[in-house]
Symmetry: D2
Subunit: 276 residues, 4 copies
């Protein structure tokens, strides 16, 4: 981060340096930068990325194939897999390469392990042209994140998602403050704690549960401790509360989306919805 | 069941036989029946049970103590505990007997393992008079169930709870038919499948999830498979659905209560409440 | 009502009497009964009605036209219109007859005034064949109600709708008993009180709000007096309640449908849905 | 507005000018300013107002009575009443003055006509000491608003409420954009349109429905045109929609409160709650 280049410096750089910058993003393909250099200056980071991708997409078929071939396949990038899953993924990735002649590219920062396994399985059987287009789309995602990591300047393209929550107490007609909650990532093997928070006086968490990066697609769960919250406010003389820890299980499908998971609760009812 | 006596036969029985019947319910205390016999005929099963309990409660202190002492303590009755929990319960039950001079009685058909452990812990420190009253209440619960098991006739006292559910699809404005759901009992060790059902055209299960016996107090979870239901009806082109399996976790506190757990859902929201 | 014929008697009646019965339903067209008589005996009221309608539908074009022409047009049947609306309806009905050569038939027991005005306006421009089919469908509705009014027997065809309600208090986790509510029919001119009720201990009305006849399509409103209900239970020290009288406005589109309007409420929130 | 004094200028003003400023707020009572002047400088507008009110409250009983007597009574201030209501209010205000010996003060910018009539009726019978305290509280509200109108500077005391709304479409899982809505003030005579808006892409109105001033306590209604919104998105082949214009009726009790009225809707259901 400390060594990020400025957009202005890139716009003013000699063509050779601009090409070297592009090569760093595009798996060594300096020609992407050579061809995009003439379109400078780029007013925004988004325009810079679009300019580079336009050069990559307009290349001759053989160049495009070589570009795709320069990126590491998904099996080399995916993290968080069990040994069995990693082995299965390696087999699928090899089969993909054998069938299509280029590596199976997926921007693994945007998807959870299960979604990656499902995506590779689905794409294995796709028609070659569609797969070449898919590979270029994934290169777009990969290089966008690399670019934002290396360059600073105005007009960044959207590359981060957000997960937030809000708890309302409609028993008392106010935000539910002081509710402990935990966010988990779910997969077949079980669940993994990502965040533990407590709601503030507005019933929200001080910062979003997830933000500043793409959301990894997959299944999640938030556990809300409504029991202690209402126990402290409503003396109902009940040994076993109707609602105690309330689990809310949901899926994330848009890595750059905003997922607002609202919970509106009383001791006897609750409503969950994807809000905004 | 096949050998159940009729209320009419009990009303007409010689006093000795009626006393023997009472002895069977009241841990050998034939005197309960001897004293209640004069109040016959009882018009209903509820009145029969109340007559017997009135005789038991009106007894001299020493008799009452002897009656309580005749029932097996909770450690001998509780089922579904781990070895560790059983050992802890045995220790608590022994401490209770040492402190109060009579066994800790709990009608274990009305409570789950965790609720029993919590109840014994809470009652261990209670004042002796309150505990004697609590023991008589539990004898009332225990003998009510025994009586209903052995006698048939009109006017049975309420001794069964009911757990039902209803799934509504407010995306389409109709009952959600064909939704698979599973009911689990929860405890610290995990969860245990009790029932697996599918909703009928009215969005309900053909029979209640639980009925015909007291509900065991404790925590439960129903998993509703909304994902397949909406996937088949709404083509949203979504790889990872927002709502797929929806877990609803709730507590049961009234063994003879009616718990109706309603779920009103769309692909993006749901409402849960204790209905009627 | 007292003079209703039995299905058995109709099945056994001489052909002439059966034809007279049909003539009474079908605006004097005894031939409908003459042709349907041979299909007797009919096992159910629904089969009887279907048999008569089959004879009517299978008639030669000129006969069918004559049959349609024998029914009074909608302008003669519609009730509850203002003078202006009645005049407009009469003009539309005359235009319809001029265009199609037969009266505009609508079973007015199944639709409210606004829905009738809208339907005539929509049908005025319809193609003649579609209008002839529509007229026969309306004759089906009209004669079904007449038949049920005059004949008793098993297997009545569905000819009644139902409007019911249910109020749940999720502040306390129980049905909301003693809530006053009022049902109004809405139209452009204002609203008309149809029913005033109070919820029973189960949070429902003792009888459905509407039942035993087709529901008239149109717009309705129920006012629920939540304010007094919660004021008596929750002392919030509030001069002006957040929720006091809660209006729920809804449309009925299916005359033979079941509309269950559920209200789940706290002093600070409520949920309305079409239930089942 | 253009002629607002700065807090700094007031802090630096000669005592005579500061007293004149206070006299303008406090119905001619320059002594309030004379006594508060020594506490200058005030760091915030809130502290200035508190300083003035402290001087007013600490005055001798006769001075306090004279101060209260200098303000016009509620009958002279209330607006938006029918002739009948104004006459009734004048009678009540005269009775109040006869009973308590000072005018009935209410900051009419904070309450709607019905709430004012109810408040005067309730206060007429109050004990004199409580009424003197109530009068001083109302002087606090009246002078706070006058002060904010005449002085600019940091740290303004809260003197404005806010009414906002948000419409979510849980049929599609997104904010409901383009929904027309209308806000009305309700009273016994009927309703009066205050605002007509349309939701923006986030399902909210661009500016709050009410803000920048106290909310007048009373009853309100928002009509949301859900019918056209869903009609354009969901082709259900329905002549009379279940939900068309949805009225939400609610009360405002806290003039400086934030009322967020959320509507979460499908074509078949909706949830309303006071959010945050």
């Amino acid at each position: 981060m400390s060594a990020r280049t400025s957009l202005a410096a890139l716009n003013a750089a000699p063509p050779g340096l601009f090409a070297a910058f592009a090569a760093d993003l595009f798996a060594g393909a300096a020609w992407v930068g050579e061809r995009a250099a003439a379109a400078r200056p780029f007013a925004t980071l988004a325009a810079l990325h679009e300019g580079l991708m336009a050069a990559a997409t307009a290349a001759a078929p053989a160049e495009r194939r070589a570009l795709i071939g320069g990126f590491p396949d998904v099996a080399a990038e995916a993290a968080g897999l069990t040994d069995e899953e990693a082995a299965a993924l390696a087999r699928s990735a090899a089969a993909y390469r054998a069938r299509h002649g280029f590596p199976c590219l997926i921007c693994t920062a945007r998807h959870g392990p299960e979604a990656i396994l499902a995506a590779v399985a689905a794409r294995l059987a796709g028609p070659p042209e569609a797969e070449e287009a898919a590979a270029l789309r994934e290169i777009g995602h990969i290089t966008r994140l690399r670019l934002l990591d290396r360059v600073e300047g105005p007009g960044a393209p959207p590359a981060a998602g957000r997960l937030s929550t809000h708890v309302l107490d409609t028993h008392a007609g106010r935000p539910a403050a002081g509710v402990a909650l935990r966010l988990f990532a779910l997969d077949r093997a079980g669940r993994r704690l990502l965040e533990a928070r407590t709601t503030n006086p507005d019933g929200r968490t001080d910062a979003p549960l997830l933000h500043g990066a793409p959301l990894r697609t997959g299944r999640y769960e938030i556990e809300f401790d409504l029991g202690p919250y209402f126990r402290a406010r409503v003396d109902a003389g009940i040994a076993t509360l109707f609602l105690d820890t309330v689990p809310v299980r949901f899926g994330i499908d848009e890595p750059e989306g905003h997922y607002h998971v609202a919970l509106i609760a009383t001791p006897w009812s609750y409503t969950v919805y994807r809000g905004s």
